[in-house]
Symmetry: C2
Subunit: 217 residues, 2 copies
């Protein structure tokens, strides 16, 4: 079993839920539609926001507007903490104390390297479009040079990362097992509803397969 | 329209998506199953993790294990940034650049006041159990004094908060509207699957209504 890459990335609380292998970490990053990015601002205060991401090999790409304060901070060298979380089920125990969730999460620390290479910009833009909806990257018009100028893309090495995973039924105390209270899991599933065409869509354009049968989530 | 409570809480990027009214902020906090909590550690580095929360009036409750480093930091006075995010739809534009998501998010800054009052502990525990699944708080065994000792509960005033909301179809550039590319929304819905009873469930306990027809999400 791989060990924690750094002391900071080691899971201290409930270490039996920790995983440090690349396969587990990559699968969670790929499945999580969005992530949350935290950084410390100039006043030393923590800030965070939701954003989308995409993984290519051992690199995580984040993108945003060049005008946003958050990304200016990251471009200025602020380290980020990226968290991607998938909730799989509500875990309903007899006791409120043992209520939990089945989840899979990744925490990744790193510095964002601003992507400037023309080929890598295209790679990252395609990966992010694919991450939102696989197949979309082959259909959507890729960014122009002017659009790339308005966008900022960061590459973060997937190195200082850990995963945490809870699976299985609730774990009540032995003394509670005789209580006449239902216990178990409520699985949570996210699915795509019927596509809603844009009001300004050209006539005669059918819903493409990658939208009608989304492979995400 | 209410204004931003502080400069830091003001939405700078795409301010037309901002909302500062209590009703919008409360609805997002109530609907979001989990939140992400960011704080700055002793080294000045940003950290974040997913957790569950519950709102009671103008207070947000967070809870965790007393043994966890994160909550020790918050108990020690570290300010937190709490982000709750709901993704409503994939926004598929003709251009990759204008791809987006319809989402509702809240960012809340504050210091956690550790809950120690016996009545407030029960209020917070009930609220968090209700937040996970409405009705569950009337069924689950509430915490014992010993269990409360192992748990740490924080109250954060919902004061320095902002919401950000995107709705509606994709907004492509005029020049792209003639492209023969499907554009529109893919709504995302999270639903509860069939409940899975715990293997050690007592015989003869039926699935209760709050589990069979969950009012969350």
């Amino acid at each position: 079993m791989p060990e924690a890459p750094t002391e900071r990335a080691r899971v201290h609380r409930l270490p039996e839920r920790a995983a440090y292998d690349r396969e587990t970490i990559e699968a969670i990053l790929d499945e999580a539609l969005i992530c949350h990015v935290a950084w410390t601002d100039g006043d030393g205060r923590a800030r965070a926001l939701p954003t989308i991401h995409a993984r290519v090999g051992d690199t995580l790409y984040l993108h945003g507007s060049r005008a946003a304060r958050a990304w200016r901070a990251v471009a200025g060298g602020a380290e980020v903490c990226v968290v991607a979380t998938i909730v799989d089920a509500l875990v309903l125990a007899r006791s409120a104390f043992h209520h939990s969730m089945n989840y899979r999460s990744v925490v990744l620390y790193g510095h964002g390297r601003e992507v400037t290479d023309a080929d890598e910009l295209v790679t990252a833009a395609r990966a992010i479009t694919h991450h939102v909806l696989p197949g979309r990257e082959a259909e959507a018009r890729m960014p122009t040079a002017e659009e790339f100028k308005q966008t900022i893309l960061f590459a973060i090495p997937i190195a200082e990362a850990s995963a945490k995973v809870r699976t299985g039924p609730p774990k009540d105390d032995a003394a509670d097992l005789e209580l006449p209270i239902w216990a178990g899991l409520v699985p949570l599933e996210t699915s795509g509803g019927p596509p809603a065409p844009s009001p300004d869509l050209l006539q005669g354009i059918a819903v493409p397969a990658h939208v009608a049968q989304p492979r995400r989530p």
